[in-house]
């Protein structure tokens, strides 16, 4: 295979691994398309979780902060969309963006005070956020319909064009994930992204260089919330049904598992992790409860034995060692 030399030098060894992985993923999607059926649903959910994880990666991966409550914003997106579409007959696409706007504002309001916390307090406060949202979605029946949840949420679409075919839904979701990855990649390798990544390893060093830590943390938190909200809305439109359980605490575990499988802090990691972690339970043909158990076990094992995520194991996404080292200098 011949590539233009500029591309091949830029790719490097790991670049080829990434290309190989991309081709594998492509083949997987072709297979899913031809095969159809239940696998389509699995991949749709993988893409939706992928969107969530790409956002989580901003806060967790790039910025190195822990939030155990991003599911709150997914719930906000999901219920926002459901209420706007079902109760008020909004266009799905408008409802999605409106929900994102609401989540964005909510994340600023909540994040501004919360992110001043550190360590266990930050962890518990974010975790509480998810629990509060869950309880509200159960209790505020006049709006959320309680445990029963919302059904009959219309599929995505603009005007007369609606995406109802399962294969097309997957295509649309894939495009959204690619767009989300594109944003993530662009931001990571920018002044903004460098500031985030600097904060993740040394807040002292970053602030000595004039980086305003609190602003950047908040920005990463808001971005993560926007992605989470979009994921929640997409779930509502694609599946057509939401309930409090969809955005419960297991969403936190599932998405963290995905992030760890794919690689925390890498651009592609969240999406790859979402696909792999979604397929794994299918391979062992487990469903429901066993699936959650499997996720929890995989996550625990990863946290103990591969704390940097699977991709670190293969060296994907790691900076290259110097070609020539010059110890004499």
């Amino acid at each position: 295979m011949t590539l233009p030399s500029s591309i091949s030098t830029r790719l490097g060894q790991h670049g080829y691994l990434a290309v190989g992985g991309a081709i594998l993923l492509g083949l997987l999607f072709v297979f899913v398309f031809v095969r159809g059926g239940y696998l389509l649903t699995v991949m749709q959910l993988a893409m939706i979780y992928g969107v969530f994880c790409i956002g989580l990666n901003f806060f967790m991966g790039y910025t190195g902060q822990a939030s155990f409550g991003q599911n709150a914003f997914a719930a906000l997106g999901g219920y926002g969309t459901a209420v706007l579409c079902v109760q008020y007959g909004w266009e799905p696409i408008l409802a999605l963006f409106a929900s994102m706007a609401i989540s964005g504002v909510a994340s600023v309001v909540v994040g501004y005070p919360t992110l001043r916390l550190r360590g266990h307090y930050l962890a518990m406060a974010t975790f509480a956020l998810g629990l509060i949202t869950y309880d509200i979605s159960v209790q505020w029946q006049s709006v959320t319909q309680g445990y029963m949840g919302y059904s009959g949420i219309p599929p995505l679409g603009i005007g007369p064009f609606t995406v109802e075919d399962e294969r097309w839904k997957l295509v649309v979701l894939m495009v959204i994930v690619l767009f989300g990855l594109w944003i993530s990649g662009r931001l990571r390798n920018s002044r903004f992204g460098r500031a985030l990544r600097a904060i993740s390893t040394s807040e002292l060093g970053a602030s000595a260089l004039g980086i305003r830590i609190s602003h950047y943390k908040l920005a990463a938190f808001v971005i993560a919330a926007l992605y989470a909200s979009a994921a929640g809305s997409l779930f509502a439109h694609v599946v057509g049904f939401i309930s409090p359980e969809v955005f419960g605490a297991q969403m936190v575990i599932v998405t963290f598992t995905m992030l760890y499988v794919g690689g925390v802090g890498t651009v592609l990691g969240p999406a790859i992790g979402a696909v792999i972690a979604s397929l794994l339970p299918e391979i062992v043909r487990s469903t429901g409860r066993f699936q959650d158990i499997a996720y929890a076990l995989v996550l625990i094992l990863l946290l103990i034995y591969v704390p940097k995520g699977l991709s670190a194991l293969f060296g994907i996404g790691r900076p290259r060692p110097a070609k020539t080292t010059n110890p004499g200098s």
Partner: protein, 256 residues
């Protein structure tokens, strides 16, 4: 002209007075050193000057502006840039990226610009890439530019931290024991770098433990002991100062 002027700066931790009524003036363009035994309060002094620690009393004026209670990122934006006694590497980034982060204050662009990448942003990125290379060459790390910063040996991490601070365009550079943990050869290289930085017109305020290094390169030296400034003067004056010899130099003459 006086660039940094400190008056009566005091810091008390619970019972301990880590800095007591310290006053000093740093002339623009000079290479000023603060020396003193371990625990004398040098780092505490730096932490207050750079806004990382609120002071108990006293005032700090930088370039004519009172920065006593200013936020650290604003102080940095005024051109007062510091390094740390314990190296603060961005371990997950390459050596070059570390320096690129250093350009944060000298560049602009947030989320929107990063997504659209307008021409000015691309020029800016290209610009800092080139300048980062220059700085790395300047401190002798050009060959390690694409390496994972966390993999650098300790001595080179110190140099990288200096290069990174230089990227922020300091008017006053605060270096906290940059030679700590370096061997003689590395210390010489570092002394060279510091003198070159000062030669570029950047004022340097240096904390150092190694008296030999300080008396060789500093224009002026202040000596701290138990949180108090016990002497200030030229290297020659300091070497002769009886209090200093008693409190500090006496134990270090073999090294000097």
């Amino acid at each position: 002209m006086t660039l940094l002027s400190v008056r009566g700066l005091t810091k008390r931790f619970d019972g301990l007075t880590a800095n007591s009524e310290i006053s000093l003036d740093v002339e623009e363009g000079s290479l000023f050193a603060v020396i003193g035994p371990n625990g004398a309060g040098k780092t505490t002094f730096f932490n207050m000057v750079s806004g990382f620690l609120p002071s108990t009393a006293g005032s700090i004026t930088f370039a004519g502006t009172d920065i006593t209670t200013m936020r650290q990122d604003k102080i940095a934006a005024m051109g007062l840039i510091r390094t740390f006694q314990l190296v603060q590497m961005f371990q997950n980034m390459t050596v070059a990226e570390n320096v690129e982060v250093g350009f944060h204050l000298k560049t602009r662009g947030g989320v929107g610009a990063a997504l659209v990448r307008p021409p000015w942003l691309r020029r800016q990125e290209e610009d800092i890439r080139v300048k980062a290379r220059e700085l790395l060459d300047f401190v002798g790390l050009g060959a390690q530019a694409d390496m994972d910063a966390g993999l650098l040996p300790y001595g080179q991490q110190r140099l990288l931290e200096v290069a990174r601070a230089m990227a922020a365009g300091p008017r006053l550079l605060l270096l906290d024991e940059p030679a700590a943990g370096l061997n003689a050869h590395e210390t010489d290289a570092l002394a060279d770098v510091i003198q070159h930085i000062n030669g570029r017109g950047i004022t340097v305020l240096l904390i150092e433990h190694d008296v030999g290094l300080v008396t060789r390169i500093a224009h002026r030296i202040a000596v701290l002991d138990f949180g108090c400034k016990i002497a200030e003067g030229t290297p020659d004056e300091i070497k002769k100062h009886p209090d200093v010899i008693a409190a500090y130099l006496g134990t270090e003459t073999e090294n000097a």
